[in-house]
């Protein structure tokens, strides 16, 4: 059964929105790429890239151009079709997940009501987890089809890690869904009008954030890549445009998770202290909050060393999952008692 759309829109509005979100959203990726390298530099008391363009602003463009002009290289032991297909899976799922992040409420642009989001599905978090699960195929197929032991090890770790942490991530959101009584992401934002969920759901927030690091393979949970031990993990054998796809998807996932945390725990486009700015400010509020979390992701990467594999597993199953379950349970009891 198809999910019902929160607000009915004309087909041409849908197409226009898709183009705008694609154009704006994907421009953010080079910005995050540069921000990561610059910030990592500052965290290590150095400047980061500052040679290409003013303050190194053209560095991501130079990187991408370099990658795209490289030879599309394939090991003889690889499985050709899957080897080409896997990076596409990664990038498509990342872009698809980006579609549900609400950047603002329904606005009247030239008299036409337009929701400032790709699509407001009534099963918001489930949509996210569905694509998260498919994104795992991008890593798994990429690593397996490379025909290399490092890639395969990376992919296997990725499989275990994603399955383990997706459970905790989901359970952390359950608390929010209980409280908001809706699965629609715009609905969840509107339910936070009184108080952002970071306050009543603080533990849920921490658990979700931690599990998100593992979900998008960021340090300290970047065991799928683990450059020190697995060369490059699942993307060892990829070069040129295919590697660029993986790279792009990785940073887009950072943005998606930042957006989801913003939406679910930080009140999306809402501002505190009852400030109601005009509608066009909403996307900037969301982008600002997203940048805070992106900064946090980079900050953590600059700080924490990579976990050992058994530590990763025991942390996921013995600490994070019980905490997430407890959080959901307590929230459920409180919701029943107060209603």
């Amino acid at each position: 059964m198809l999910a019902t759309v929160g607000y009915y829109e004309e087909w041409w509005i849908q197409i226009l929105k898709a183009i705008v979100i694609f154009a704006v959203g994907l421009q953010l990726v080079p910005v995050v790429l540069l921000a990561e390298r610059k910030l990592l530099g500052r965290f290590q008391s150095r400047y980061g890239p500052n040679r290409v363009g003013p303050y190194g602003a053209l560095q991501p463009l130079a990187d991408i151009l370099k990658l795209l002009t490289k030879e599309q290289f394939r090991p003889t032991s690889s499985i050709g079709f899957l080897f080409m297909f896997a990076p596409l899976v990664s990038i498509v799922t990342a872009v698809a997940a980006f579609a549900i992040i609400p950047f603002g409420n329904v606005q009247h642009i030239f008299g036409t009501p337009v929701g400032l989001y790709g699509i407001d599905v009534s099963i918001g978090p489930l949509y996210l987890f569905a694509f998260g699960a498919v994104a795992f195929y991008g890593i798994m197929l990429g690593g397996w089809s490379s025909g290399s032991k490092y890639s395969f090890l990376g992919a296997m770790r990725g499989a275990a890690q994603l399955i383990s942490y997706e459970v905790s991530q989901g359970l952390a959101l359950v608390g929010v869904i209980f409280t908001a009584q809706t699965l629609s992401l715009t609905g969840i934002v509107q339910a936070q009008a009184g108080m952002w969920y970071i306050v009543p759901q603080f533990f849920g927030f921490l658990i979700f954030l931690t599990a998100s690091f593992a979900e998008i393979n960021r340090a300290p949970f970047d065991l799928t890549e683990a450059d020190a031990e697995l060369v490059g993990g699942y993307n060892t054998e990829f070069g040129g445009g295919r590697f660029a796809s993986y790279y792009f998807a990785e940073y887009l996932n950072v943005l998606v998770v930042s957006g989801i945390v913003t939406t679910v725990f930080l009140g999306g486009w809402l501002l505190p202290f009852g400030i109601h700015p005009p509608g066009w400010v909403d996307p900037f509020v969301v982008l600002f909050k997203m940048s805070l979390f992106t900064f946090f992701f980079i900050w953590v990467r600059a700080t924490l060393p990579r976990l050992r594999y058994d530590q990763l597993m025991s942390f996921g199953w013995k600490i994070l999952l019980p905490l997430a379950t407890l959080n959901a349970l307590v929230t459920a009891v409180l919701v029943v008692v107060t209603h």
Partner: protein, 183 residues
């Protein structure tokens, strides 16, 4: 049954038992680490932007060699402007890398090049072989050769790294800043 002896040391491989406390400890240490890196973030970077800025060298830094002349103003018996090198080849003898070549010639009253009886007709240092040990400087009885401060000596051709007497005598482009007192 195997009983461990007294000399057995138990190595704690996992966080200490007691999940709550170890979780709290891990969390606290994580926050401490984050604060540490944030402190670095607020500082100004320590990077030296090399081609534009250079680290100043110490006065005794051993860089590219220089050959010297007597000062232009004649104050020691009309030697002004003459080369200090007398072509004795002691530097070449002292050189462990064998990179100095000196061919001496007699000074004549018409063609007076150095202050001594003889002068260096050919004086070449192969800087691609030089190990910058400074023995030539120590060996020289007239302080004719000293180690300068330049270290930017890369070139596109090996033959360009053989520095002739004219190149070593020429006033070098001051490309390397000198460290000041107390710096």
């Amino acid at each position: 049954m195997w009983t461990p002896g007294d000399d057995l040391i138990e190595v704690q491989r996992a966080p200490a038992p007691g999940a709550t406390r170890s979780t709290w400890r891990t969390f606290r240490e994580t926050v401490r680490g984050l604060m540490t890196t944030f402190g670095r973030f607020l500082e100004t970077p320590v990077t030296v932007q090399y081609p534009e800025e250079k680290t100043p060298v110490y006065p005794r830094f051993r860089g590219r060699h220089k050959l010297h002349r007597f000062d232009e103003t004649p104050h020691d018996g009309g030697q002004g402007g003459l080369e200090k090198c007398v072509g004795c080849s002691l530097c070449a003898a002292a050189c462990p890398a064998d990179c100095i070549r000196v061919v001496a010639a007699e000074n004549t009253p018409e063609n007076r090049v150095s202050a001594g009886e003889r002068y260096a007709a050919v004086y070449e240092i192969n800087l691609s072989r030089c190990i910058f040990c400074g023995y030539c400087e120590i060996a020289c009885p007239f302080d004719a050769i000293t180690m300068g401060h330049d270290y930017e000596l890369s070139d596109y051709d090996r033959s360009d790294l053989i520095f002739t007497k004219e190149m070593l005598l020429a006033e070098p482009l001051e490309r390397t800043p000198l460290r000041n007192e107390g710096e």
